[in-house]
């Protein structure tokens, strides 16, 4: 007969995300996850998908949350928007956080709403003093409303602004310094942006405040060409993680040590075991830096 140790903390109740690989939770996989209880470090969900009154999404997330740590990832708060933050949206986030008690909340360095229009994409910011003040004020508002620090995700971008006065890593460093937020380092976004803007991805990473990294994202990209026929990478979350991104991830881990790492796949979602294999690949790399 086995004796359970006293005071065991369920994996779902740990205070922060475990230093393991997690998967984006897709509705296609709800039942399989509940029936097979796969050994996954945590699940991440897009907050907006759960901003519904009731029904199957809440039913399944509630059951899965009882078993796994959770990362709540917002995709529509428009932290970089020129207008004020949408207080109703922020209140909906607070409600979700109260209900599901996620180990982590993250959002993007981007804008997605303008006036009454929601554009459903993560759009690029002009990195200058005006934008910096605005982004910091919005993050302060988010963190004080949600009563917890948030992680800010670096974007993938396809264009640069003539009026920009700061580099993206410098802009991010200043936001982290001023607001105390953490960094969600999307390694695929680093790779995509650096190829698109002819930058060295390792130098970009070295310019970031790596001590603030609370989570890493890995994903696949699509490939196109611009008017000169140069590679134009598009962050589409619709493909396996590219070898170049795996290699960059290893270089990040050498610098950061083990960090909770999410495999993102939002389009052309494959069978669960395909995603699980990518999670296992990430865990092998995580264990190498642990050792």
């Amino acid at each position: 007969m086995t004796h359970l140790p006293h005071h065991t903390v369920s994996p779902a109740q740990v205070p922060g995300l475990p230093l393991r690989a997690g998967l984006g939770l897709k509705s296609e996989h709800f039942i399989e996850v509940l029936e097979t209880r796969p050994d996954i470090g945590f699940f991440e969900v897009h907050a907006e998908n759960y901003m519904v009154a009731g029904g199957p999404f809440h039913h399944y997330l509630g059951l899965i949350r009882e078993q796994y740590p959770l990362s709540l990832h917002g995709v529509s708060l428009s932290i970089g928007g020129e207008g004020p933050l949408d207080c109703e949206h922020l209140a909906r986030l607070a409600t979700l956080i109260e209900r599901y008690q996620p180990q982590s909340f993250s959002e993007h360095l981007a804008w997605s709403s303008h006036g009454p229009v929601f554009l459903n994409d993560l759009l690029p910011l002009t990195y200058d003093a005006t934008t910096l003040n605005r982004v910091c004020a919005h993050i302060d508002q988010v963190q004080s409303t949600l009563k917890r620090p948030m992680l800010l995700e670096n974007p993938s971008t396809y264009l640069l602004f003539q009026r920009a006065t700061l580099d993206e890593p410098d802009f991010i460093s200043e936001v982290v310094r001023r607001t105390g937020c953490g960094l969600l380092l999307d390694v695929n976004n680093v790779y995509v942006s650096c190829i698109n803007h002819q930058r060295d991805p390792v130098a970009y990473i070295d310019a970031l405040p790596l001590q603030a990294v609370g989570e890493i994202h890995l994903a696949g990209f699509a490939e196109d060409t611009d008017s000169l026929g140069d590679r134009l990478l598009i962050d589409d979350h619709g493909a396996p993680i590219d070898n170049a991104v795996w290699q960059l991830y290893e270089q990040v881990l050498v610098r950061t040590g083990p960090v909770a790492t999410l495999i993102e796949r939002d389009n052309q979602v494959p069978a669960f075991n395909v995603l699980q294999a990518e999670a296992q690949q990430a865990e092998r790399l995580l264990s190498q830096v642990t050792a």
Binding site: E48, N49, M51, V52, A53, G54, G55, P56, F57, H58, H59, S76, L77, S78, G81, E82, D86, H89, W111, S112, S113, H114, G115, P116, V117, F118, L119, N120, D121, L123, P124, T126, Y158, L159, L160, F161, Q162, R163, N196, H197, Q198, R199, D224, D226, S227, L228, D230, L232, I234
Partner: protein, 251 residues
């Protein structure tokens, strides 16, 4: 004009373009880079509509649906970050969309699909205990329906057309010109669609407006003399569609 205002206008413009003040580090035409954002906005919203309106899409084919949805996106971009609610006016757009007039029932099938999405995400409210309900029920009772419950009246066979696209294989011949009404609701985790008579539509809509049971019955019988109260009420009770009952007299 602010940077984001110009960006937003170019994203939603009918013709591809590029806002001022942007560039590519390799000197490529920034319009070829801006096109990624424009395509992301349009394709993500069109995909969201395709997910919410699968039978509407099947009825006209993917190419026609995406072209129509693209025009809808430009005319009616989302007014909220809640994408599951996006497209609530697509059926009205389809109704007025000249190239879709050859499929006259398309708008009603879209209306039915919208009701299904709403039912899927509607609040979780437990049904009223059956024995309590039956003990208290009388003509003055006002029944509260679950928020997932909705009806649709169509001059076309919208329910049969929709149902014919739920199974693989050949679609049996459907006479689209027969008027049909639908009851849409969620039972447990599954959204159900029933073909109901016009009396049941009048009955359910009267209950929805807070009318007492006997008033709803009058409305139902006015709509159809063949209305069967026991059958309709039995269906609603068995599907957990009644959540509360009160006896206050209507003002």
């Amino acid at each position: 004009m602010s940077t984001q205002h110009a960006f937003c206008a170019a994203l939603l413009a009918h013709e591809p373009g590029c806002p001022e003040g942007v560039f590519s580090s390799n000197g490529a035409d920034p319009a070829s880079r801006f096109a990624v954002y424009r395509n992301n906005v349009h394709s993500s919203l069109i995909n969201a509509l395709a997910t919410s309106y699968p039978v509407t899409r099947q009825l006209v084919g993917d190419e026609f649906f995406r072209a129509m949805a693209g025009l809808y996106v430009q005319t009616c971009p989302p007014g909220s970050p809640l994408i599951s609610e996006y497209g609530g006016t697509l059926a009205d757009f389809i109704q007025a969309f000249e190239p879709a007039q050859s499929v006259p029932y398309l708008a009603d099938v879209a209306r039915l699909e919208r009701l299904r999405v709403r039912a899927y995400h509607a609040a979780d409210i437990p049904p009223l205990d059956q024995s309590r309900m039956l003990a208290q029920l009388n003509g003055q009772s006002r029944l509260q329906l679950h928020p997932c419950v909705a009806t649709l009246h169509s001059p076309y066979a919208a329910v049969t057309i929709w149902a014919a696209h739920q199974t693989e294989g050949a679609i049996a011949s459907v006479n689209p010109w027969q008027a049909q009404s639908a009851l849409v609701l969620r039972h447990g985790l599954a959204v159900k669609v029933f073909s109901i008579d016009s009396g049941s539509v009048a009955f359910i809509n009267s209950l929805r407006r807070g009318k007492a049971l006997e008033t709803a019955l009058e409305h139902a019988l006015q709509a159809s003399s063949e209305f069967d109260l026991h059958q309709c009420l039995g269906l609603l009770i068995s599907l957990g569609a009644i959540t509360d009952l009160d006896q206050k007299v209507s003002p």
